[in-house]
Symmetry: C2
Subunit: 344 residues, 2 copies
């Protein structure tokens, strides 16, 4: 049986009201009483029952996060870092974090509704926005506190943090063009994800800007996984006139692309250039190290959490729509186009 405020009150010979006030540092309690109550409470190992506090205060001091997972072998180095950012910031604010894992779809929406309607959380973090995002629509419609990692198509009158994928992609393509590449392929993330559109726009704009041809056969769609990057790259390299550079919509796919290229004897960074997006820790340690676009994912997690809690507390939030400029990280995988290829 856990010790309650009643037990403490009985022990110190005061009312539970006084104990509550002493513990919450109210002014109208004598310092002797305060000291006594605190000592006894500590001795007895008293910790307030959070559930009772919540019911009384009508808030949960908890934020929710529904991770969109795809299948059992869901394994994304991106999310773990993101989660660490959110988790640490949330704890720093004294909030708890309620996590669900659901594949996009009905069950996912159900998870959102349960959290909202059961008043389990005071706010939600929506991650990896879709172009048409039912989660954002829902939360916006009912006016429930939330922040999103990513934008959506249409009106942007909600709080979000996003990375300017268009600019990031432009930098990447520009860099590859400077290296002498003219046939640049792009493996886009699933097109329903909002950032896919963003990066695609950047890719196309930069190609045009650099005076390069937009060959439709060099743009394929992948699934953000290593395997998918591998498969799509095999296809690209089997073309009659294969690309000399491949940009993948995320690092995981880029790593898969590297493997596909290496398997057929190409030297990545010499015979072919490959680049990714995210700058996951492994990018730096790939062989060769992967050129990519850095997203400060841990920081973004912290920002989102802090922003959401300020919104919940109705404090000054500052900028509600944050668009971060990503930075190009040039490593060896995007080397100069070789003579033989250039001649081809």
């Amino acid at each position: 049986m856990p010790v309650t405020i009643k037990d403490v009150a009985r022990r110190v010979g005061k009312s539970i009201t006084t104990v509550s006030r002493a513990l919450n540092d109210y002014d109208d309690v004598s310092s002797e009483t305060k000291a006594l109550v605190r000592r006894v409470a500590a001795e007895m190992g008293y910790t307030p029952n959070r559930t009772a506090q919540r019911l009384q205060k009508r808030r949960s001091d908890t934020i929710g996060l529904v991770l969109p997972t795809y299948g059992p072998r869901f394994s994304d180095p991106f999310f773990s870092e993101f989660l660490a950012g959110i988790g640490n910031q949330t704890a720093d604010f004294g909030y708890d974090l309620l996590v669900s894992t659901r594949a996009p779809g009905d069950e996912e929406m159900e998870a959102y509704r349960r959290k909202v309607q059961g008043r389990q959380v005071d706010g939600l973090i929506v991650v990896r926005t879709r172009q048409q995002d039912p989660r954002v629509d829902y939360l916006r419609r009912i006016g429930f506190p939330f922040v999103a990692f990513g934008r959506v198509q249409g009106t942007l009158d909600f709080p979000f943090v996003d990375v300017d994928g268009e600019q990031g992609m432009r930098q990447l393509v520009r860099h590859l063009a400077e290296q002498g590449h003219r046939r640049i392929a792009y493996i886009t993330p699933p097109s329903n994800l909002n950032f896919a559109q963003d990066r695609m726009a950047g890719f196309q704009a930069a190609m045009v800007e650099q005076g390069l041809a937009l060959d439709p056969s060099l743009v394929v769609e992948g699934e953000l996984t290593h395997r998918s990057g591998y498969q799509q790259t095999q296809r690209l390299l089997a073309l009659a006139d294969p690309p000399t550079a491949i940009v993948a919509g995320n690092d995981l796919m880029a790593l898969g692309a590297m493997r596909a290229a290496q398997e057929i004897g190409l030297r990545v960074g010499a015979d072919i250039a490959i680049a990714g997006f995210d700058n996951i820790p492994m990018a730096e340690h790939a062989h060769p190290p992967l050129t990519t676009v850095d997203q400060p994912i841990y920081t973004i997690g912290r920002m989102l959490s802090a922003m959401l809690i300020r919104i919940i507390r109705q404090e000054e939030v500052g900028e509600q729509q944050v668009l971060l400029q990503p930075s190009l990280v040039v490593r060896q995988s995007s080397g100069l186009v070789t003579q033989s290829k250039e001649g081809g």
Copy 2:
């Protein structure tokens, strides 16, 4: 203002008790009343306040998980899959999952205490046990429901799921010995982690069993990261008499080891053999594909969650100490030792 049971009661003209019973499908409510109540509740968009239910029932229907994170760039493909397993199983049972992220140490213990004493969770999952594990000691001492992923040194009178790392490592070393390797190095995980000891024992036993020398200079300690595997391998390869095979304590380190070897021109799977442990999705897609020991991490997550919930509900749990046999996955990274090396 969210709709409460009171609102529903007023609307149907019944007492809140009747509404509660109708909604919870008690036998002693007429089917007409039940139907009416349910219809009205649905119309009004009523969802029970979980906090109030919890306070009344004196349980949270929530399980807790404190992820041990190391620094901001915490990025482990292992954990995301593990989390998916736990999350999905937990949701299937109608439980919620409360997640914290803390580096091992005082703050971590504090997170455990807060969850327990604030009655925020009905049980906890302890992940990545240490040889001497204060989390396990604490939970055991106070008799709070928990399950652990991994064993500890000493008495094992608590529920856990673990993978038999000793057997896994034996298989791996045996395999390498069969490939003709005699100088096999081992990059061990941090020695305070329980599974490190386990795998080390397997490594040493298998070496002896195979009649191979245990050269102390070939056993080094890494930090489970890609970077660490890379650095330790550089050191191993710089030895006067370097190993022909390197076993890493996890896949991330093995991937780092591969890079270090490749950087100095070694062909992994030909000039040198490299193997890992875990079988993360990326292992299959490494270049060359990584020989490793498979841990069914998603399944382990599900098992732990199911086991914990049964313990909480005081149901039949079945086997409380589960030791899974891992399986060797032979891929190309552990090829035969080449002639030149064998002669050296």
